[in-house]
Assembly symmetry: C2
Homo-oligomer: 351 residues x 2
């Protein structure tokens, strides 16, 4: 039996508005005994996923999941390696996707939350936090189930995606474009991201929402209005798209990153377009689709192989840098999936 | 051939915020020849319907119907009497529901918009502007189709209705309570209206939104949260109900009267509850259900006879008073349907 030094980042205080990396979080190092109880496994965290939803987990309000407690390790989806196991189902070296938060190691009892990953050449395990993880699955179910894209798809269907250069938006936009053949307009926050959207991901149009003439450009880009708006940002972009929503249009409310740091956010002023255009705004949480993950991962793996689904990662190194990286995510400094690389895989057991 | 003096109220200017009866509208009297072309009918307006939606018709924006033009007679649903007819389908004395606006007389060619009313003892023709007219039909289709009340109904289903003492709200609330057996909370703007909701309409709870502790009272009244929110008002009431929306809750966006006079309305700050609770907000326009009006009127006539559907009217006299009455509607001075009585029926032809 030995002890491992485990660096963790815990929630130190609940931010009212912006996250302050120095006061919102606190780094600590604790000793973790490597002695395992029956069926337990010890995992080493390799990658930590950073997601806009984390801002919601820090609020002490009724939500789909309990808030992270003060002094608790910050919650996150991670990819980890089993480095010691008392479970008949896991052995040294297995790679798993699991929710063990901002720390280097964790002792866990395998549950539904722990999913073994089949790694294959050319696909980093981190992909299971991005396209083939909760992020990509969110896009998949949002655009297919809530957006009902199969009903409307095709070149006469105009789809607009906000946060289109982000991890979820880029997947939703590519599915709409390359699987369902829609006209797809991606919205992002820099000209570089817009280039990425049209040149690398093949979207029809990309718009920089920071442009002074953004709404005018949106009007020009949507001559037949917007059939499906996949929204990751909320705010003025949502309002602009409400003003352009088509008859019976669908607004997939995936996220509202532009509002998450506001104490009381500004709501969509033009929501009454829902009435005049008989439109629908609907939210969802990917967890509800857990039973359909298998089919979705199969579909998306196929689309990756066919070149229909590309992805990028923005990687920060070291668990102690997770707070700064989360702030960068809210500032839109990432393209594609924002990750913290915590450690390399171990090739042989050190315990 | 003769001439009739026809008093009309026309749109004089588009209000940016509140309606000013003196400058927004203009009264005029024109001479109308009673000579009819082939198939035309001359109608005398008996009742004019006043509806929150009229505020939208005065805005020059993309909507479900073209804006009323400047100097055009203000649009409204009316009940009128045919007093001269060149149509084989209409004769003197027929009572019709029609959209001929704020005027005393009109010459019309019968179209789908003109519906002959079967009057019967104890039911005023004005009922066809209220419970059995567009107002009541709006409630019927909103609560059944958009609210999907048949899927959730019963005592474990909590329904909240804003503007519950109004013409549409009172019908939606009574259908939820007395047809589908839900727990129904009505929201209104005075204690008298609240008494009407519980004592006369039989709702479970009535809340005065002007109370300083309104949100607290809403929480107490919805211990199992809100499965269906039928919204006529928008604003803070919508936000309060978003904060209390249940898992997979439905928000029926019927209207947003509290916001119609605002140049840029305040949107619902808590709309991201749609995400966390997997909820849906959806708008609709009653016209889309035209093919199902017959069945709906049959159902509602039956419910009236069974005592399940009661209604009140607030009646103002004289077409020249329509502008003031419309302002009163926005001030919430009415209980039940707000109408202008323009004239009595004629018992024999004067032409």
């Amino acid at each position: 039996m030995g002890f491992i030094q485990n660096t963790q980042v815990v929630l130190a205080s609940r931010p009212v508005t912006d996250i302050d990396p120095k006061t919102t979080f606190r780094k600590q190092t604790v000793s973790l005994s490597d002695e395992l109880g029956p069926n337990e496994v010890l995992v080493k965290v390799l990658f930590v996923s950073l997601d806009p939803a984390m801002r919601g987990w820090m609020r002490d309000v009724r939500s789909y999941i309990r808030p992270v407690r003060i002094d608790e390790v910050m919650r996150s989806s991670d990819v980890a390696q089993v480095i010691k196991s008392n479970s008949p189902d896991y052995k040294f070296g297995d790679i798993v996707r699991v929710t063990c938060g901002w720390q280097e190691y964790a002792i866990l009892t395998p549950s539904e939350d722990m999913v073994k990953i089949k790694t294959f050449p050319g696909v980093s395990p981190s992909t299971y936090l991005g396209v083939l993880g909760p992020t990509g699955l969110t896009a998949y179910f949002g655009i297919t189930d809530i957006g009902e894209i199969a009903k409307k798809g095709g070149p006469n269907c105009t789809v607009v995606v906000s946060g289109a250069a982000g991890a979820t938006g880029s997947v939703a936009a590519q599915i709409a474009k390359h699987v369902y053949g829609c006209r797809v307009i991606g919205i992002a926050g820099s000209d570089d991201k817009c280039d990425y959207l049209t040149k690398e991901l093949g979207l029809d149009v990309a718009l920089n929402y920071k442009s002074k003439t953004f709404f005018k450009e949106l009007c020009v880009a949507t001559p037949k209005l917007i059939d499906i708006f996949y929204d990751n940002t909320g705010g003025d972009i949502l309002d602009g798209c409400l003003r352009r929503i088509a008859f019976k249009g669908r607004i997939v409310v995936c996220g509202a990153i532009s509002t998450y740091n506001e104490a009381v956010p500004k709501g969509p002023a033009y929501y009454s377009a829902l009435i005049t255009q008989r439109a629908r705004m609907e939210g969802f949480i990917v967890f509800d689709y857990a039973k359909q993950y298998g089919k979705a991962i199969e579909d998306m793996s196929k689309w990756i192989k066919e070149g229909k689904l590309k992805s990028r990662e923005t990687i920060v190194h070291g668990i102690e840098n997770a707070p700064d990286a989360l702030v960068k995510l809210f500032n839109g400094d990432n393209t594609g999936k924002m990750l913290v690389k915590v450690a390399d895989e171990e090739t042989r057991s050190m315990l």
